[in-house]
Amino acid sequence: MIRTRADYPLAETQPGAVTGKRGKSLPEITLDSVLAGDVTMEDLRITPQALQAQADVARDVERPTLALNFERGAELVEVPQDFIMQVYELLRPGRAKSKEELLEAAATMRDTYQAERIARFIEEAAETYAARGLFTFRF
């Protein structure tokens, strides 16, 4: 189902359909359920589905680049924090010493996390860094 601006805001138009990572929906996350110990941080994490829905809305209101960012974000939801920070670090100037290091990270994104858009994005960076000599050593 492709969402449109008419579905926005999702938390108001379909709160029951908005869920966290463990499937708990917005109306189920209450102060009492928190106090009962039924809510963890995992219940308060956005899902790839929610990000895709926001991407649909963004596209419907003529914001295609924002939609793409939400879609890249959707691919990163399942990627562990440490690996995200590792890839971020690798994308900074001079961290990767060769194009291959970035291509390897891209491959992991693609193969392990099915993050196709992110993988292509990292490959594009690798190509650019090679063209601009960014694999030089920085002290």
């Binding site: 996350i29 102060l31 960076a125």
Partner: protein, 756 residues
């Protein structure tokens, strides 16, 4: 002999003004000091082959630097570009200020425009046109505002109290940072708790190192980030230790954690970093903004930011800051429009800087305003700070412009500060982090700034902060702690903010929370199409904006006069002796008093008792051996006519006219009404000795002398702003008692001489 000087003293006066602390830089494009255009700026241009941008602003694809490459691949829409780039820039500039050309049409064209084209178009607008175009082009209809909440000690009690205060003033976002970087976790918890007092929905950011900031967000304490900086030259970018790809990756990472994010860019950053390529500030900034749209961030913190003070030293620099903000909103980005770093020591320049944004509106007018005192601002002082926040409230009222804030009654502020301090102390106790004493808490509640507090020190805070981090405390622990200690409402409020990240609704462009609901460019799009459209201040909102403190009304004037009435009754008695006769003796001087003098009104605007004023004048006249009569006029309340009528009754032909508010005149029988002998028009600064001298001069004129006129010295006080509201209300009481044709009444005055 008076010596000749080598300078006009006015320049010496000017040297002493705060303005002269500002330094101004010469225009020098080769060294990067040019606001709008430089010989090194490229001409706009684009070539597209097979859907691919093969040339951008005169640079061929194989020569692209990283920024060109990113813009060509991710910003430019090849479908729109040929049409958009072929348009005459002057025509597009006119469309920007044409209320009949809808925003959507211009936004679509921007998708196909290069940085040089965007810069060329907005360069054609003057400052007023830029402000107007900004108002029309900004993405969300309803304006908002952001506050800085920091203090010089990283004291979490004060952070909580100040966060609660900022929330109550109506800020939509609050941003904190630290003096000591390891205190980030404590700052985050303190502001999250304080920001949950009173209402829910204020978004919160803790500006810290990139990885740490993301970790704090993942623990649920913060809800947005904006310190993801981008730059307009490749060298600045890599010197800033990032690339467009690393920053875009970070943007996706924030989205994946359900955290709102915007980038930051602003004129002057490349110049400060030494890699400006001799390009103009606006062109470099246009590159930054195209980059941000390409990255797919929803918004930007833009408008000089840390580079604003430098930009403001350059000719046209302040206009440039407005122009770059216009490009941001034209590119359909949320704009947190700067007005943060204090770009001048001149209060006039501060007011002038903020005004266009206040009347045009902006997603976040300041990013942010110092809600705390200048010395407590850990970012550096803001354009407007805690010291001047009331000035801003009054500007809103003056222009009936919604700057996002609402006046806060003092009693409510104290109540919220107490609650916030108790809440954060309870959380710390419950989690075993610290046990703040009663004295600590009390010192914070009433403190204007950290100089006034006896609270936790930066070292104490480091232990708290590191414990929060090491123990992996999350927002769920804090919500539980609040509820367990009876702060149920605050617990609910905090939970509501974290729940925002589930739907991701607030990740859309220009999202904020108002009255518990999402308001963004999606469901509150700016629909300006001329007067009557776009954002309008509703009557309800207008009344809120008007509700500043200490507002004078007639009731207030009558109340204070009623207080004086009892006091005056102990000093003077007036007895009406019937119709006043024409005097014939040469020693007869008449003092004409106004209708309400001593009957309804009892003090001059300077605060002198009317009994003392009258007594001083009578004494002075009698001291010259003359006789003074007091006559009340009821046919007029006008000073000139009071004086002239008095003079006509006086045997000497000399009369004094005086109103209850203290304005007085010496008049002579045969003169024109407004051609008096002496006028004392500045009642608020007229002292008792002046009234005594006035009596003496009236006597001197009656004796045929030519005395030195009395000059009441004024030092340029804005008398009208200080007194005219009261004067108008008082004068209405006088005129209300006038009666056409009412005869003058002889009044016997008995000064009882009681001491107050």
């Amino acid at each position: 002999m008076i010596p000749k000087l080598n300078r006009w003293k006015r320049f010496a006066d000017w040297d002493e003004r705060p303005l002269r602390l500002d330094k101004f830089a010469a225009e020098d494009p080769a060294n990067g000091f040019s606001a709008f255009s430089s010989p090194a700026d490229p001409k706009p241009g684009i070539a597209i082959k097979g859907g691919r941008v093969v040339s951008l602003d005169g640079v061929l694809e194989h020569d692209y630097d990283m920024i060109d490459r990113f813009i060509a691949r991710h910003h430019i829409d090849p479908e729109v570009a040929p049409e958009a780039m072929a348009l005459d820039s002057a025509t597009v500039a006119r469309w920007l200020v044409d209320m009949n050309v809808p925003r959507e049409k211009l936004v679509r064209l921007a998708h196909g425009m290069t940085p040089a084209k965007l810069a060329e178009v907005v360069s054609q607008l003057n400052a007023l046109e830029i402000a107007f175009a900004y108002s029309k082009m900004r993405a969300r209809k309803t304006p908002g505002n952001q506050a800085h909440v920091t203090n010089a000690k990283d004291d979490p009690l004060q952070l909580a109290a100040d966060a609660a205060t900022a929330v109550a003033f109506g800020f939509d976002e609050i941003e904190t940072t630290m003096r000591v970087s390891r205190n980030a976790w404590s700052n985050a918890v303190a502001c999250a708790v304080g920001g949950a007092v009173g209402r829910w929905g204020t978004l919160f950011q803790c500006s810290s190192e990139e990885a740490e900031e993301l970790r704090i967000a993942m623990a649920g304490f913060t809800s947005y980030a904006e310190t993801v900086s981008v730059y307009g030259t490749e060298k600045s970018f890599t010197d800033g230790d990032d690339t467009p790809w690393s920053k875009a990756f970070l943007a996706a990472a924030y989205a994946s954690r359900g955290v709102k994010m915007r980038c930051t860019s602003g004129a002057g950053s490349e110049l400060l970093m030494g890699f400006h390529e001799a390009k103009s500030l606006l062109y470099l900034e246009a590159r930054c903004l195209c980059l941000q749209r390409g990255m797919g961030v929803q918004g930007t913190q833009n408008g000089g930011i840390d580079g604003a003070p430098l930009t403001a030293t350059i000719p046209g620099g302040v206009r440039e800051l407005m122009a770059e903000n216009l490009i941001a909103v034209w590119l359909d980005l949320e704009c947190a429009s700067g007005n943060d770093a204090r770009s001048t020591e001149s209060e006039i320049r501060v007011g002038a800087k903020i005004l266009p944004y206040l009347i045009a509106g902006s997603d976040l007018i300041c990013s942010g305003m110092g809600s705390i005192l200048k010395y407590d601002n850990s970012f550096n002082p803001s354009l407007i700070n805690g010291e001047e926040l009331e000035d801003y409230l009054v500007l809103q009222r003056d222009f009936e412009a919604d700057g996002g804030l609402t006046p806060l009654p003092e009693s409510r502020a104290i109540e919220l500060r107490e609650r916030a301090v108790e809440a954060i102390a309870a959380v710390f106790e419950e989690l075993g982090l610290s046990t703040p004493t009663e004295d600590m808490k009390t010192s914070v509640v009433y403190a204007s700034g950290s100089d006034d507090t006896r609270s936790l020190t930066p070292r104490d805070v480091s232990f708290i902060s590191e414990a929060i981090k090491e123990r992996g405390i999350t927002v769920i622990d804090v919500v539980k702690a609040l509820a367990n200690r009876g702060f149920r409402e605050e617990a609910e409020n905090l939970l509501n903010v974290v729940k925002l990240r589930l739907s991701g609704d607030y990740l859309q462009t220009s999202a904020m929370i108002r009255n518990g609901r999402i308001v963004s460019a999606v469901n509150d799009p700016n629909d300006y199409l001329g007067p009557g459209s776009g954002y309008r201040v509703s009557e309800e909102r207008r009344l809120q904006l008007n509700d500043i403190r200490d507002v004078l009304d007639q009731k207030e004037v009558l109340r204070s006069e009623a207080l004086h009435e009892k006091d005056e009754a102990r000093h003077i008695r007036y007895r009406n002796l019937g119709p006043a006769a024409n005097g014939s003796a040469n020693d007869d001087v008449v003092i004409g008093i106004s209708p309400a003098f001593g009957l309804k009104l009892y003090r001059t605007t300077a605060g002198h008792r009317l009994s003392e004023v009258l007594g001083a004048m009578l004494d002075a006249i009698q001291a010259r051996g003359l006789k003074a009569r007091v006559v009340r006029f009821r046919h007029t309340a006008d000073t000139s006519f009071l004086g002239l009528s008095a003079a006509r009754l006086a045997g000497s032909g000399i009369g004094i006219g005086i109103q209850a508010k203290g304005t007085a005149v010496i008049h002579q029988r045969d003169r024109q009404p407004h051609n008096n002998l002496e006028l004392f028009s500045n009642a608020p600064i007229t002292r008792l000795e002046h009234y005594r001298a006035l009596g003496a001069n009236a006597a001197a004129y009656a004796l045929g002398e030519m005395p030195e006129p009395i000059v009441v010295p004024q030092r340029g006080e804005a008398m009208g702003s200080r007194y005219h509201a009261r004067v108008a209300l008082i004068y209405a009481i006088e005129t209300g008692l006038t009666e056409a044709g009412a005869a003058p009444e002889e009044v016997e005055v008995m000064l009882t001489g009681a001491k107050s």
